[in-house]
Point group: C2
Chain length 230, copies 2
Amino acid sequence: MDQKDFLTNIAFDSVVFGFSGGSLKILIMEYHNTGFFALPGGFVQRNENLNDAVRRGLKERTGLDNIYLEQFYTFGDTARYKPEIMQTILESGNYSLEKYEWLLDRFISVAYYALINYKEVVPQPDALSDSCEWYDIDALPPLIFDHADIVAKALQTLRDNLDRKLVGMNLLPARFTMNDLQKVYEAILGEKIRRTTFQRKMLSLEILKRHEKQYLGKAHKAPYLYSFED
Amino acid sequence: MDQKDFLTNIAFDSVVFGFSGGSLKILIMEYHNTGFFALPGGFVQRNENLNDAVRRGLKERTGLDNIYLEQFYTFGDTARYKPEIMQTILESGNYSLEKYEWLLDRFISVAYYALINYKEVVPQPDALSDSCEWYDIDALPPLIFDHADIVAKALQTLRDNLDRKLVGMNLLPARFTMNDLQKVYEAILGEKIRRTTFQRKMLSLEILKRHEKQYLGKAHKAPYLYSFED
């Protein structure tokens, strides 16, 4: 993390959404011995495209290469500049404040959201943090800087894009039941939807392909499996 | 423009849309003696919010304070880094390359689009440029860096937001005819719309308030004036 290898004053943060147990979750890092929680993020190398830097960061945290990723907003208020927090994080990790002085400068952060299949990921902490864990979107710890605002805007963007870009498909396995799909929608929207209303709407969009039934021992109730049309 | 007053590696660019003579136009700067054309843009002061920096820049170019402004994407590819272009611009303006060396570094640019009432604006060039003019969106000069990509993405975002955010209202005076509104939609979408289809759709949205008729000498054909509901 040598200053000369990175652009200064510019960072990125990622809101990584996963879906499990009926609820929407995001990845949160906890920093060594500080009690600070934050979104996974990073800095842009001088010879690297911004989008590639974000993919590199996500690969390091999730092990995944091909992640559905969308840039949604760049956060640049002066109020997000709190050098004392970064100083505490560096000191707690026994990093040289002299060498890493550039990290104490003001950063504008480009925020992305990612949608991943929860089951494919084993979250990995980075050098400065001792954990990287899934948290239920409704039960996040307090986050540093403006990271709570970044999460709120990511969730709003996800809701806005739910029908338009069919982002929900990235949170599910390749084949799923109508009930699985409904649970993803309900978790993102934060509200219950009537089963018949949901099913009618989804089928009317003509984006689903029906496959065989899913037999789980109660054959008379076996639901159909669906996938998204290519 | 002293380096110590500004964040490094981060810039902004604005696509300023106006509507006149039935077509959509944007503001373009031409730099002294270079033949280079570019979007109006600028840099962020160390003590300034990113959004405020963009408003400051727009105020300088248009004289307007309350502009409809939306951030839409941050451009960070390495391919946009062309220091020889900035060097030519500085040399043509007789600026010291030593003092302004920081401008020759790589910049990530946060892009915004603005919608303004064409009639309210007298475009003002900045210190480095000798003109700031309206250009028809279909007849832009070749632009430096990735500015053509920025314009294309701004236009796509404007189209995507046309119904959802009613952005068209910012391009019209407070009262307008249905025909005025249709011309704005057609200019943004780049296609003709059937008059009856357009009128039915607009009225069904229940966003328009009908006022008196606009008499222009041919009283038997006078169209109604409308405004957007508050």
